[in-house]
Symmetry: C3
Subunit: 357 residues, 3 copies
């Protein structure tokens, strides 16, 4: 581990600026400690509320959070996720061609204001593509707080450019990943108790048992994207990918919206119909099916994939497919007859959320 | 009250998403507890300062606030108002055709960071329109903090669509409302003391006695609106009205600027000439005379309507007409000869503010 | 001092609004206490991170700050600078034709959340221009915190319109200013200790000794400006100059980007290659070589002008020329053969930064 980190540092010493890592720079087992620990503040909470139409009572109200056993009040899990993820970009995906997927993302404990988040990643898979010019890198990333408690871990895989098409291919290693986090493996925040849950404050009466597998929910509302807003968000997470900020970084002159912006938007829109899905416990997988740009109007719908119990008092879990679309699709169609994503699908995310049961 | 709330919950249970209430869903005496309590943070204060050119010393400086008897430092009253108001939108005005007016709005106590705001509304008036398709709903809304202290209350009335034009009209009830909050009914924040007021820090020398009834003040400065900014603001207050966020929600493809955004902009611009109007104590009434959109440049002027004393040491009150215009009107004309609002008038707000006397 | 302040107050009493000061309103020795003290919050820190791609560990992480001896964690020095500077605008530069330069800016002590900043300025130079219509005003401004400790002081000079071209010229006074703050005059924050500096957290391995005089660093990344973002920033600092906010304030209908926005952008972009330049200790001088507008893509490069030691453990200093450009200039050319700034140069700033040695 130290050896790998030293190698990276050595390479960087050659020029002052960081050009990011290429496929050849990764080796299986390598551990990268990402830069810039980041302290979470009440400012992040407010900005999140300005950027996304989130109204979940637990992250909105310190009183509600305390009443369900969480005090001090946690920030939205996706604030923690975006910060943790952002740290990996300069080392993992600065030269990425595509973000291919996520798996096994679990939220281990709430993050609250004053917590400082660090992230490290271990390379767990490498596979050169047959074109010889790119390869797929799998990393398991782990975010910790200032007490070295794990707060989130997740796997993602990205297609990365090679520096030199002529360099030899590494041994192929493709990790085995779970398609779904098993409900018994979900980590329930310590102290969480929904047994005296306040549905009036939360805004909807639905409990876990009110949802049925296969049910689809049209979240109705739409938000038209602006460049200023997605840049503010992406920068807040210290995500440095050029395509989000620089009109000169893509041939079409558009700023590509950070995929996580769409995740947060869809999650916030899902309040209307899933107001009691107070916490995200896991991301089982996800695909960014199409790019999004300023001017697009984003809607969301959900499909209930599973309903489960947890050991915590009053706490159930829903496994949801959360879909973001460009333009509203009241029919809520994910894929066409050809098996490909339907036109307009931007995001297909598979998550576990915690609800009163 | 519980009965009414239960009815609402029952209706909602039929589908997972909230389609908002229609005219038929309201009955006089009905009390609605609005969802999503919201804790105010220092992030809200900073965002308010980024969104509006506010420079009032009391909400800018904890030192100034403490020196006039308010510690911890309150946030701008309009932060509290917008949050409290936003909570009512999903239940009261999601299907509103128009916001018709405000009355009897009083600020009962300062809101500071850490306070959690809830709002409930009582239906106090119902009148079906002669077209049979819409009706006017009057509600008195009350915002409380985590100690159940009232922080703001106000009346507003909105024109709401009927679900079914054929449904019978309710008995007409139109509440009697005061045209103006009497100066002796203004609530002065406990401890407020302007007797050692620091005019240098506040930025202007004018005291209550320096203003004369009928005097008009051109606040000089203008701000050109952007979509990103009004959406950030409106979302921060958890206001969910579709027309503010979604270019597909209106035939003209424009995002309508939240009326409260214009209120805050006008109030902030009024610093230049009213720098000592440190607190808003009441909103006597108000009309949004015309819609505003990105690209409009908003200016403000004020007319002094009354000057009064209060029982608090050194504290006087000014009743002001605060007018926002699209484009600057140095002549400060409110209405044309036909009695209609002059072209360019966006907002006509009647407020009491507290100033050193 | 009181006499001058009284004169200003008297003049203002004539009309309620502040039209700003003209050249005739300034006298050498005059001291102006600027309005609106401003308390810094965690919201400012978060907004700064949303507005600028800053990743310096010291202002990002309370843990990192504490580990180098600074606890509570300071906010970015430029937050303090912009707030302190913004206060001077209504009195000094509301009628300015041009901001001509900065000198002798030193950061005396860190600013942290909860600190309240005030600024006062002393007029130290006056020179009427030969056209008789404008003059140059030099002011030394001093920002203090709530304990009256100096936090920043600096000199700037601006060209200001005369109210009346016929009024007599004042005696010409042009202050002598240092071209560079001598390294021994840099104020190192009390307690700062880089002897156990964490390069992994900071993101780069380079120490003072790794930089050589004359070395140029291309910071690689670019950010395309939006109107919403620069207005949010400029408003946050309570800077009231009309040209930043109002499309009707300039003949071309553009909103001019506040020069300080470009300073912060360039400083944040310089992370890539100067990640260990944790603190700005002084601004020796600076010019805004060209205006910037929404749609411009801003890049930055630096040139090392000097390397020095300080008395603090492990702390060295770099004197840098920090250049912002519209469009990337990989050749990093400051001036053409004619001695004028090369096309595309927006900012030429001469700063001292503190780095591990």
């Amino acid at each position: 581990m130290m050896g790998a980190a030293s190698t990276l540092r050595l390479r960087r010493r050659m020029s002052k600026t960081n050009a990011g890592n290429f496929f050849e720079d990764f080796t299986v087992g390598q551990v990268i400690e990402h830069a810039t620990p980041r302290t979470v503040t009440e400012g992040d909470r407010a900005l999140y509320g300005a950027l996304y139409p989130s109204r979940f009572a637990l992250s909105s109200s310190a009183e509600f959070a305390a009443a369900v056993g969480l005090s001090p009040a946690p920030v939205d899990e996706l604030i923690a996720f975006h910060i943790a993820f952002g740290k990996t970009v300069p080392d993992i995906s600065l030269n990425a061609v595509a973000n291919l997927g996520y798996a096994e993302c679990r939220f281990h404990r709430p993050v609250t204001t004053g917590d400082t988040i660090r992230t490290r990643s271990e390379v767990i898979g490498l596979k050169q593509n047959s074109n010889g010019r790119t390869g797929v890198v799998h990393v398991r990333s782990t975010a910790t707080n200032q007490r070295d408690d794990v707060v989130i871990d997740w796997v993602r895989w990205v297609m990365v450019n090679k520096r030199d098409a002529g360099s030899p291919a590494p041994e192929t290693v493709v990790p085995e990943l779970s398609a779904v986090v098993a409900p018994e493996d979900l980590v329930i925040p310590e102290g969480l108790d929904f047994s005296a849950y306040d549905h009036v404050a939360a805004g909807e009466p639905h409990r876990a048992g009110d949802y049925t597998v296969g049910e689809k929910i049209d979240h109705v509302d739409g938000v038209t994207l602006t460049d200023a807003e997605h840049m503010l968000a992406t920068r807040l997470w210290q995500n440095t990918a050029k395509v989000h900020f620089n009109t000169e970084a893509r041939p079409d002159g558009n700023r590509l919206v950070y995929g996580g912006h769409i995740i947060s938007l869809a999650r916030a829109l899902s309040f209307n119909g899933l107001a009691n899905a107070q916490l995200v416990a896991a991301i089982n997988g996800g695909s960014h099916a199409a790019p999004a740009f300023a001017g697009d109007t984003v809607y969301a719908w959900s499909e209930v994939l599973d309903v489960a119990d947890t050991a915590a008092p009053g706490v159930g879990a829903l496994r949801l497919r959360l879909v973001a679309t460009k333009g509203r699709d009241e029919a809520m169609v994910l894929r066409g007859d050809d098996g490909k994503y339907a036109a307009g699908v931007l995001l297909d995310l598979d998550v576990w959320v915690l609800v009163p049961r």
